[in-house]
Symmetry: C2
Subunit: 420 residues, 2 copies
């Protein structure tokens, strides 16, 4: 009798749990040997991954995936080398597990230690990019966790090949390949089952579109780290250096418009609008950025689209920008407070008081003064590699890596103390 | 036209949000003046609270509430004084807000600071005890947050009176009374609405029965800190000091059997069962503890009930204990792994290797060696006062107070850096 999908996924979770418990008895060095073995294996057997990836690419072309999506999916020897190299950055970082983060002697004389310990079993739901498959496993090994992977259907063959090689690598260095649970069903059913596996999965990380993330928020019973939706604003203050503002705008909007730390709305102080508009025009024309403007912007750009509530509320993830002229920092902060997804927000100003007020009042994971929102990234922040960018306030906020995939355990040691 | 309950609760959340934003511009001292003013007000106007509490007590007696529940509900001058005094402990603790917890200079030269900031608006769903109303507000002030309170129907009049006095106190020290949103509807509707206010409420804390907590886990879209269910075990090791084990058992089971850090299951190593059973008999008889035993226990206590799967899986919260004789630490750890709610777990042993292995392998918020599980408490752990005891792994685990009701914000300051 065929087991149900739910039973199969639970079996993977239980296997990951058992393997994770065994992993807890291993040293950091033994876990790192797993990451090294994975890198070696990918370098050795890259043609297997490329062959599997070709199947995904063919299927993707047949389905009419966009060039951008096909590019995210594509793997060759060089990209596989880059994936292997990226995870090896983790080798040289300190062990996030077993750190004593608090300690005291309690009133009654017991010793109290608070130590970091692995979460247990992570669950990850993600979309097209196959490099996430390897990144997630490397971060799980670094943090001592097991992991269930539920990737997107576009990358199914690539992911399957990558997981097979990673399991082979783990086995060779005496780590249990059951640490990696690969869910090869890519229907909504498997995501929904994974979201509901409270007790089997300790934390769920959705990484992908706003739609995926909101489905998880609505349905998950497993505690979740919400990631990625970035409705990011740039406020050009009255005292801005407009050349700097233009460079930061161009970088934030056009370097990679499809990512979560790209800019989506430009708020321009009325006093500098006259100076800034010519630069906006130049950048928009050079990159084909469509302007969705308020009335003050439309007066200058008659061919622009009138901006809507929808434009302010959502990410374009494309060569398009919402533009609004504001009367001051108050109006900018209020606009951001209404529409921001709490990801990355930027002020460009030479005025120290404005910078201070903006950073204090804007409620987001990262607030920038005179720098590009594109820096919100685990690599740029020095975490080596990221599992995602949290836009929630619970547990971790902003880019997070292995050091955030742990929880704590109190250990209290006494000589028979009881509570009076 | 009467507004819907949902609209009313959203209006309270928005008021708390506005008030919280204003609070962010105030100093720690100004927030602490709020806690002091609340203490003074409760001491001055305690008869108003007692009068309201009498209504709740009458209603409770009419409803046939148990003596234990009535006792938890009851307030008199002395108890109100104790409530005021408890929150004043927070005055002398450091400000959890505005702490720089990380800082670096990034590759491109920008300065990065990671600072603690308030969560924003907390939501709390809780049951009978009116002291929680004041504790929660004091912790919210300490951590710079607004709060929505949805207490139990048994304490409605007491809570309303306490909130009215607290709002009066805040107004007198120029803090916005809108910081406290009191939901005076105690139907399931109001809880369900609160659980779904994602975007309006930043974190939800249910504090009460297992049923409440599991309803929240199933239905909440707001990120949640799960609290309180404690299916706690005591393992009496082969090398235990049996007198110490008996004292820790008696304290854990009988001092306050209705609380989450009370013991629910006793696992006894076969080698010490002969020595420990007489002590178990003595304690059970002295306190009227009903034994639910496995076959080895029943052989010694023929009048005991046979233990069921249900007994192992759930809290008794009463003078009852599940008892199992095990062959060793492995079996104890496996039993705990299967049934524990991850709250507090205890080993009594003189064997340092057994202690080490137990603390390493048992996955719980607090693991005790030779001390009572009853110490799992924010006060005992030196946090002054607790909002609850987290049994989840995300964000905080174990007793948590004001210092855990914050999140972080990265502030990145540059001179026009863009990403290449």
């Amino acid at each position: 009798m065929e087991r149900s999908l739910r039973d199969r996924i639970i079996a993977l979770a239980e296997e990951a749990r058992r393997a994770q418990r065994a992993l807890s008895a291993k040293s950091h060095g033994e876990r790192m040997a797993g990451i090294e073995a994975i890198g070696d294996k990918l370098r050795e057997k890259w043609p297997q991954v490329v062959a599997a990836n070709e199947l995904d690419m063919e299927a993707g072309r047949a389905l009419g995936l966009s060039e951008a999506l096909l590019d995210r999916l594509y793997l060759d020897r060089e990209r596989i080398e880059a994936i292997a190299g990226a995870s090896e950055v983790l080798l040289h970082q300190p062990d996030p597990v077993g750190q004593v983060v608090e300690g005291s002697t309690l009133e009654e004389g017991m010793g109290l230690l608070k130590k970091t310990v692995p979460m247990g079993v992570l669950g990850m739901i993600y979309e097209a990019r196959p490099n996430v498959t390897v990144d997630a496993v490397a971060l799980a090994l670094k943090s001592g966790n097991g992991i269930l992977l539920r990737g997107g259907k576009e990358a199914l063959n690539s992911n399957r090949a990558l997981v097979a090689l990673m399991k082979e690598a783990l086995t060779e260095v005496d780590l249990d390949p059951g640490l990696i649970g690969f869910i090869d069903d890519t229907t909504h059913d498997s995501s929904n089952i994974l979201m509901g596996l409270k007790g089997h999965v300790d934390v769920l990380i959705p990484r992908g579109s706003g739609r995926l993330i909101s489905a998880v928020t609505q349905n998950a019973t497993v505690p979740t780290i919400e990631t990625g939706v970035g409705n990011c604003h740039l406020y050009v203050d009255a005292k801005a250096d407009v050349d700097m503002a233009a460079a930061i705008f161009e970088n934030g909007k056009t370097q990679r418009p499809g990512v979560c730390n790209a800019l989506e709305t430009l708020l321009i102080h009325r006093e500098v609008a006259g100076d800034f508009f010519p630069k906006l025009r130049e950048i928009a024309e050079a990159h084909g950025v469509v302007i969705h403007g308020d009335s003050a912007t439309l007066a200058e750009f008659p061919q622009a689209k009138p901006v809507t509530e929808e434009d302010f509320a959502n990410e374009f993830l494309d060569y398009a920008i919402a533009v609004k002229v504001v009367d001051g920092l108050d109006e900018a902060v209020e606009h951001i407070g209404r529409y921001s997804s709490g990801h990355s927000e930027v002020i460009v100003t030479e005025d120290i008081a404005a910078a201070e007020e903006f950073t204090q009042r804007v409620d987001a994971a990262v607030v920038y003064v005179n720098a590009s929102s594109r820096f919100t990234d685990g690599g740029c922040f020095g975490y080596g590699m990221e599992m995602g960018i949290s836009t929630q306030k619970l547990h971790v906020r902003g880019p997070f890596g292995a050091q955030h995939l742990v929880t704590t355990k109190y250990i209290v040691t006494g000589r028979g103390q009881i509570r009076s």
